[in-house]
């Protein structure tokens, strides 16, 4: 199996965002996970950042010399899981 470069490592699996792209966003001035999301689309895909938000917070922490848990969490939005338009349209209170 081919050894991966750092740049090839996938951080966001839904949107195919690599570590290099996240680093580039930080170099453009991103200080928070919300900015990385908007610059790269990491966390905007099907799973809404379930895997990548932790990884991105670690990368931001490394860059800023803080702890990952001290990074401002990316805004969580509903729905928690993808729901079809039909299921939502048929929803009755």
């Amino acid at each position: 199996m081919k050894k991966l470069n750092n740049s090839d490592k996938i951080i966001c699996r839904c949107e195919d965002i690599t570590e290099a792209e996240v680093i580039q966003a930080m170099e453009m001035g991103a200080q928070t996970a919300d900015e990385v999301k908007r610059l790269t689309r990491a966390g905007m895909g099907h799973c809404q950042g379930r895997t990548c938000r932790r990884l991105i917070n670690q990368m931001l922490a490394r860059k800023t010399g803080q702890r990952p848990e001290n990074q401002k969490a990316v805004t969580q939005r509903s729905p928690l899981q993808p729901i079809s338009l039909k299921t939502l349209a048929d929803y009755k209170k």
Binding site: T32, I83, S84, L88, A89
Partner: protein, 378 residues
């Protein structure tokens, strides 16, 4: 700490970014200040539609110009902004709406928008595959309207500002405007920093009123909450942006670059204020409205909902003017059209500032105007 530049743009959305870019390009040393991060306000929450179908001559001409700028933007900014001329189709389900659209089309032709035309229901279905034409009389269709990706556009502009020698200050909330003797002198931030410039531009979108008040200038812009949702990406179906003005209508389109459907509707009654909460009502209601227009989208999954502000003026027209305080300019009140108007607005604003003229280049965009006219295609 005090730092000087030629001018300060307050607001890190499309209006501030585009204006900053065109000013930097014409040689000004620009500082753009944003209280959060870039696109944290309205621009990052908009659905990315771009259309020329308006009813005021000023807006139509600006949008003709904006579309030209979007067409050349990849080359100009050196980044892919995902411009795609997917078209806009406004739907008429009543004779009154049809009448109104026909008269709008005549106005649009007169203002130089030649691409727009009336299409009957049969043709509408050819243009928008899968469109439910029950009760549809036809629509107003413009194939050269389109879409782009808001984040890429704003970041393209701000990267250019930096490469032209300007500065972008994020997390820099302006809390006061420094002025005296009828002239603006700079701004002060929440952190107590002072930035000096002879020109300060209020491009604060939904916060334009608050920013104006810091200098004692009344800017009649009121935010209203609009909610939106986005689906997973699916195969691009080639539908134009669909706009349904009925009380239970809405508007949505599909991004060509990743296949996601994105849409929203105007709530009745409106929701004034800076509130940016999302509601279950919207999440349940918007899909009904989408499926009423295009039933075949039933299995497509919604992945996210959010809300953002339209920054409204009473007459639906933007404000582009210099205030009574020399050097303190206002470019705000885009009424939900900031993203599409932004490039041309920024370009015109840069020319206006460079000209040194006192009065707005477009009378209908003046700050102290009669706000009783109404834009019919809000």
């Amino acid at each position: 700490m005090t730092k000087s530049t030629d001018l300060i743009v307050v607001g890190g959305g499309i209006i501030g970014a585009a204006t900053g870019y065109y000013l930097a390009k014409s040689g000004y040393k620009v500082r753009l200040m944003e209280k959060g991060y870039l696109c944290a306000g309205s621009t990052g929450r908009c659905i990315g539609g771009i259309r020329q179908q308006f009813t005021s001559d000023g807006s139509i001409k600006l949008m003709l110009e904006s579309i030209e700028l979007f067409k050349n933007m990849d080359r100009d900014l050196g980044t892919d902004v995902h411009w795609h001329p997917g078209g806009y189709l406004f739907l008429a389900h009543s004779p009154e709406k049809k009448e109104a659209f026909l008269s709008n089309i005549a106005i649009q032709h007169k203002s130089g928008l030649k691409d727009v035309r009336w299409v009957d229901a049969y043709e509408a279905k050819q243009i928008a595959p899968g469109l439910n034409i029950d009760g549809l009389l036809g629509g107003s269709y413009c194939p050269t309207d389109g879409q782009a990706y808001p984040f890429a556009v704003v970041n393209g502009y701000t990267e250019k500002i930096k490469s032209l020698g300007g500065t972008i200050n994020t997390f820099a909330e302006v809390t006061s405007i420094i002025h005296g003797g009828g002239k603006v002198k700079g701004v002060r931030t929440a952190k107590g920093e002072e930035y000096l410039a002879d020109i300060v531009i209020n491009a604060a979108g939904p916060w334009a009123k608050e920013l104006g008040a810091m200098a004692g200038i009344e800017v009649p812009v009121e935010p209203e909450r609009h909610e939106a949702l986005i689906t997973e990406g699916v195969e691009y179906l080639g539908l134009p942006m669909l706009v349904d003005y009925r009380i239970d209508g809405g508007y949505f389109q599909q991004f060509k670059h990743n296949g996601q459907f994105i849409g929203c509707y105007t709530p009745v009654p409106n929701v004034p204020g800076h509130d940016s909460d999302s509601t279950y009502e919207f999440l349940a209601e918007m899909p009904k409205r989408m499926l009423k227009l295009v039933p075949s989208l039933a299995p497509v999954k919604v992945i996210r909902q959010w809300s953002g502000s339209y920054e409204m003026t009473a007459d639906g027209n933007p404000i582009m003017d210099q205030s009574e305080i020399e050097g303190f300019y206002v470019l705000a009140g885009m009424c939900g059209h900031g993203f599409m108007l932004g490039p041309a607005m920024g370009q015109m604003m840069a020319k206006f500032i460079a000209s040194g003229n006192k009065k707005s280049p477009i009378a209908e965009f003046a700050l102290n105007r009669d706000y009783s006219y109404r834009e019919a295609m809000k």
